[in-house]
Symmetry: C2
Subunit: 328 residues, 2 copies
């Protein structure tokens, strides 16, 4: 590695691509954000990644030759060892795409791949709210729910690399249908998508609420954000729906506490920016449902890297892997 090694990292999401040049301190030297052409399929998305990569390099005044590595944070199920994305609920048409090798070939740069939530967990471990932690769970509450499991200071990826799909643990066997094919997954009840769905349902049922006013009067534009905006202005239904979502967040937290007895749970993702209205009921329910001893020993923290946790975390992964390969 050079004295100030640089990594280009990509946080590939279902709606946006975030690309950055990052140094080993976790500072971003450049940052490019673009729309993911998800509906156009894998080829279009890969082309968009390459274009974003070029813009991030241009912005930093660099060429690929100056990069130590590229690291891709990918949503859905993937194998970090083979660099293959198996499937991704938010990327239609992706099936066993060898994304890492494609990007490596197109750029000529050493390329790695990691699950996006695992990347975010590493970002928080190296540069954020989980510094120094040995055993912790990172949870992203967003349109879906993702997770990163850190055990003994390392990402636990499982036998194939797909571990951490905590959003797809069933918490209500007969609950709503999930994108993954299962029913009653945690993310069908405790995600931003769940909150928006419940709000639309209540509005369609004729409930008295101002939520529509915050959604341009269009029921299709009701989102977790517009529900939150209504709650901030004292809308009773909005408040109630957020507390209900918090309740379900708490049910899943209790499961993770009983299963992992972690020292720390870090919560990030867009939905978590609602803050106390969502998280206070969540922590309360977790305390009621989990074993007392385990609950008392866990610390809750909010993610510190915000929207950059994935892109900074993917870079952190690259730096850690390069360090390991030098040690061997």
């Amino acid at each position: 590695m050079s004295e100030d090694p640089l990594v280009l990292s990509v946080d590939l999401g279902g709606s946006k691509i975030l690309t950055a040049v990052v140094n080993s301190k976790g500072d971003m030297l450049s940052r490019d954000q673009s729309i993911t052409p998800a509906v156009k399929g894998p080829e279009a998305v890969i082309q968009a990644i390459l274009e974003s990569t070029q813009r991030a390099l241009n912005q930093a005044g660099m060429t690929t030759a100056e990069l130590e590595a590229i690291c891709l944070g990918a949503p859905g199920l993937s194998n970090p060892k083979t660099g293959v994305v198996f499937t991704s609920p938010h990327l239609p048409g992706w099936k066993d795409v060898p994304l890492r090798d494609i990007i490596r070939e197109k750029t000529g740069v050493e390329t790695m791949l990691i699950n996006d939530a695992n990347a975010a967990a590493l970002g928080e471990l190296c540069y954020g709210a989980a510094k120094g932690a040995r055993n912790f769970i990172y949870i992203t509450l967003s349109t879906g729910i993702g997770g990163g499991i850190v055990i003994d200071g390392e990402i636990y990826a499982g036998s194939l690399g797909t571990a951490g799909e905590i959003g797809h643990m069933t918490i209500d066997t007969n609950g709503p249908k999930c994108n993954c094919g299962n029913t009653g997954c945690w993310e069908t009840l405790a995600s931003g998508t769940a909150l928006a769905r419940e709000a639309r349902q209540r509005i369609a049922d004729g409930a008295k609420t101002s939520i529509l006013e915050y959604s341009n009067g269009d029921i299709n534009k009701v989102s977790a954000e517009t529900v939150h905006n209504a709650a901030r202005q004292g809308d009773a239904l909005a408040e109630k729906l957020i507390a209900q979502t918090g309740y379900y967040v708490g049910v899943g937290l209790a499961n993770l506490i009983n299963i992992f007895n972690p020292e720390l749970i870090v919560i990030g993702g867009g939905l978590s920016s609602i803050g106390d209205r969502l998280l206070k009921p969540a922590y309360k329910v977790a305390g009621e449902r989990a074993y007392k001893a385990a609950f008392k020993s866990v610390r809750f923290a909010r993610a510190e890297l915000g929207k950059n946790s994935g892109v900074i975390g993917a870079a952190a992964y690259a730096f850690r892997e390069m360090k390991k390969s030098k040690e061997v």
Copy 2:
């Protein structure tokens, strides 16, 4: 350690105490089984452990002086580092009992303590169905459901030592009340207790079944075993109830597969001896509910050590810990 080091291990259960002298190959030189005087509280149980210990030693023709260590496998929540049992649903009156230190003081032998399901997991890892595995989950399906999580060849015990309480993950938020205080825990729907409860309920509701014939005509004597006996003779309700329990076993298996992406799941415990009637529907449901890639990569195995997994596993723990302390 002497050339043929011996450990006395105790599998403390809510209904029975199993004590054995075990060598480093996992062979039992003696084995004593007695009733746990659980309702009489901690002091009576501790006295029973000591008496059982003496009988197991006598049986092997030994004294405590010939033991390298004693290892206690304890049910419920405990801390292997401090040797304290916090609480145990099947041991009334136990609250923060320093069991390890009490036994150490009374016997004068180096004593260790490990959770009973973790012990069983180690037993299967060292001498049973999980030999050579790196990442696997041990599940005991019994009156309750317990678990042992093995990551990178070691028990994962969590920050306080209480990890692995997989029986107390909620799989049905509004489900039946659990002994642990929570509702809809996996063990309220997929344990032997759950199967017996459902059978009694159906019988009370007037269902047509021969289950009572296998229970001395006494509804209070209906158990998982008597339901199984009726099913073996073709009783339709008994068959249906076992399949329904298997369904819920499968829901929890899917959760563990999505969360851990383990290479192996080992299933033990009394209820699992029902075999295919229970486990076939369980595996089917797990395959339907878990991510396909993760499901395909997991292998299911039945525990090989049977009723001795806990007592042999506790000895395995002692041998591993002694080896580690010699290596340091």
